[in-house]
């Protein structure tokens, strides 16, 4: 769906929709005086369902994965590229079920700031993506917990912790 040098409208559509979803959820839950936790949980849940569906579509023609590391590499390369038009910049693991995905120019954060400004709002924009990763992994047979942290926009890190049954 992407041509060189042409900016397709579908990118902008997802961006704006994502922005509105976040602001809608935060505004509607503000009236109940509940804390941020509920809002991010809702966003993460939405991302989960979307991630499940997306990974079904992306793995249509791909053979089974050999192991967890293979799955994580797929997430970092094809999955990320399919959604954000770029790959994850760095993948680290401790080989015991914890993986850290680092994206130095996260697509949803590049327009916001190039440093420390708006830092406190950044986690809101990562919740949906955490859910995306969790949903994708769950449909590939891996239970996990995904969290995100950001220290300097637009770079951010997603931490995936595999849950063994």
């Amino acid at each position: 769906m992407e041509r060189e040098g042409v900016r397709m409208a579908d990118e902008a559509l997802f961006e704006f929709l994502h922005m509105e979803v976040i602001s809608y959820i935060f505004k509607s839950l503000e009236k109940d005086d509940s804390d941020n936790g509920k809002c991010t949980a809702k966003l993460e849940g939405m991302g989960f369902r979307v991630g499940q569906g997306l990974v079904e579509r992306f793995t249509r023609d791909i053979p089974r994965f050999k192991d967890e590391l293979d799955i994580m590499k797929f997430v970092c390369k094809d999955f990320w590229a399919g959604i954000f038009k770029k790959q994850v910049d760095n993948l680290r693991t401790n080989h015991q079920g914890v993986y850290v995905l680092q994206d130095n120019r996260f697509r949803l954060l590049t327009q916001i700031s190039a440093g420390k400004q708006y830092m406190e709002h950044a986690p809101k924009f990562l919740a949906f993506t955490c859910g995306l990763v969790r949903g994708a992994l769950s449909n590939l047979g891996v239970n996990s917990i995904v969290t995100a942290e950001v220290s300097l926009l637009p770079a951010c890190k997603f931490q995936v912790m595999m849950q063994r049954a």
């Binding site: 902008a12 602001s23 327009q111 916001i112 700031s113 190039a114």
Partner: protein
């Protein structure tokens, strides 16, 4: 010395961001950041609005672009308005020619990218984004008729 003011204004009169003051005299330029008072801003908006409608009435043919710029003995003010009502104003030295495409580029590559697509920038409030300020600063400094030499 000629003062160059670059400011971006919105549909609503009480909204504005900040003002760059540049000094451009063909080869000489000095730059500092300053804030216009609300009163001055209202005056400026009123002046531009009246100029625009005045020129529209005066034009012998159907107005396509309308008011582009005006020139005094000291400076030249360039004006660009988008279909959505965003107004971009830039003051330069009188030697500078038509900058309509420059202003349009400023709108489409900087304003749209870093303000409209920024979820934390509300479209009817003054722009607080540091990234936007950085980008527009770099953009203006990169213009061919911008010169950083100070006398």
């Amino acid at each position: 010395m000629v003062t160059l003011v670059c400011c971006v204004m919105f549909k609503h009169i009480y909204v504005y961001i900040y003002i760059y003051f540049f000094v451009v005299v063909v080869e000489v330029l000095m730059f500092y950041l300053s804030f216009l008072s609300l009163q001055e801003f209202k005056l400026m908006y009123g002046m531009l609005f009246s100029l625009k409608s005045f020129i529209k009435k005066l034009s012998p043919t159907d107005v396509k672009e309308g008011f582009l710029s005006y020139q005094t003995s000291k400076y030249k003010l360039h004006y660009y308005e988008t279909p959505t009502g965003i107004k971009i104003v830039m003051n330069t030295d009188i030697a500078v020619g038509n900058v309509r495409d420059v202003l349009q580029r400023a709108y489409s590559t900087i304003y749209v990218d870093f303000v409209v697509r920024n979820p934390l920038c509300s479209l009817d409030e003054p722009i607080q984004s540091e990234l936007f300020k950085q980008k527009i600063d770099a953009f203006v400094r990169g213009l061919p008729f911008f010169s950083a030499r100070v006398t």
